[in-house]
Amino acid sequence: MVERSEQILLEQARAGDEESFARLVDTHAGRLINLGWRMTGSREQAEDLAQEAFLRLHRSLGSFRGDSSLSTWLYRTLSRLAIDHLRREKLKRKIFFFRGADSEQADPVDIAPDPGAGPGEALLAMETGQRVRRALQQLSPQQRAVFTLRHDEGLSLQEIADALQLSLGTVKAHLHRAVTSLREELHDLRERIGS
């Protein structure tokens, strides 16, 4: 359910108060961009998707009933946009025989080493970041969405099922396949890093 303060902002935004809408965007922007970034691996794409999600909210202000919380609504919208985006990207790669994003396309924030670590550790951290990122890219769009929403965003499987309009059983299956796939992709890295 929508919180009282958020409800007031929504009412004001619905009445055409752009400042209230901007405050809603400001409140949710950080989490939404982060979700987009985890799902697409690109900050630019994440911001574009988040922007589109907010614009859809702007367009739907009149019909937004507040049955679910605003953050859930935004998560759901962004997840679907991200899945569509990843599917299109996958199709493009198939068409052009392009094998995923290479290391030079990786987000610098993602691969930046921990400044406090030594050179060897920094290199390993960088490699780990790249490998994890690549492993995540191997997942199907829906697996990636389910994994991100559960692992990074902490949504329950039932919330994910509601957000993505999937059955609970399908969400469980996606999560298990995603985890299995990550284990296979990161097998050697796991052994090198140890516990």
């Binding site: 752009e18 809408f21 901007a22 965007v25 400001d26 922007a29 950080g30 961009i33 982060n34 970034w37 985890r38 900050r43 994440a46 911001e47 988040a50 922007q51 907010f54 614009l55 702007h58 367009r59 924030v109 993602d110 780990t128 970041g129 994890v132 990122r133 492993a135 995540l136 994994f147 559960r150 692992h151 990074d152 329950s156 499987l157 469980k172 299956a173 999560l175 298990h176 985890v179 299995t180 990550l182 284990r183 990161l186 890295l189 796991r190 890093i193 516990s195």
Partner: protein
């Protein structure tokens, strides 16, 4: 859950605390007995720790800029909807007028084709007669032969 009932998919749900209490207890009992599943769970935990990629840090300034961009785009879309409504309204009016004109009794009856008396239509008709064009070529060749004959 017996020792032989190793179910890796349940370990994933166990890790994420997504099992009902009774099932969670069954898996916990199984783990106490099964070293293979314990090892499996440890490896799972290790991989999933690796998958913690951290958060993208967004500064206040970046967030403000993003908010401004979204607000501007929202205003832009709102404005662009007004001409769209105008276009839709004018299209509907045009459609309505067309439907009124096409009502029986108002629809003009098809007229029999009029005689095309204009000179341009006569020219077109003549051009369509290719036999005549062939004859013109023959006449030109005849003139040429006559000229050559005169020259000897």
């Amino acid at each position: 859950m017996k020792r032989t009932d190793c179910q890796p998919e349940l370990l994933t749900l166990y890790h994420y605390h997504e099992l009902e209490e009774t099932e969670r207890q069954r898996v916990a009992d199984h783990l106490a007995d099964c070293s293979a599943c314990r090892k499996e769970l440890e490896e799972l935990n290790r991989v999933l720790r690796l998958a913690d990629t951290g958060r993208l840090e967004i500064s206040n300034l970046e967030r403000q800029q993003f908010t401004q961009r979204v607000s501007a785009a929202g205003r832009g879309r709102k404005r662009s909807r007004i001409p769209a409504w105008g276009l839709a309204l004018s299209s509907a009016t045009a459609l309505g007028l067309t439907l009124i004109l096409l009502r029986p009794g108002i629809t003009p009856q098809p007229q029999p084709p009029q005689q095309q008396s204009s000179p341009i239509f006569a020219d077109i008709d003549m051009l369509q007669n290719f036999d005549m064009l062939d004859d013109l070529d023959l006449l030109e060749n005849l003139d040429l032969l006559q000229e050559m004959g005169d020259l000897g």
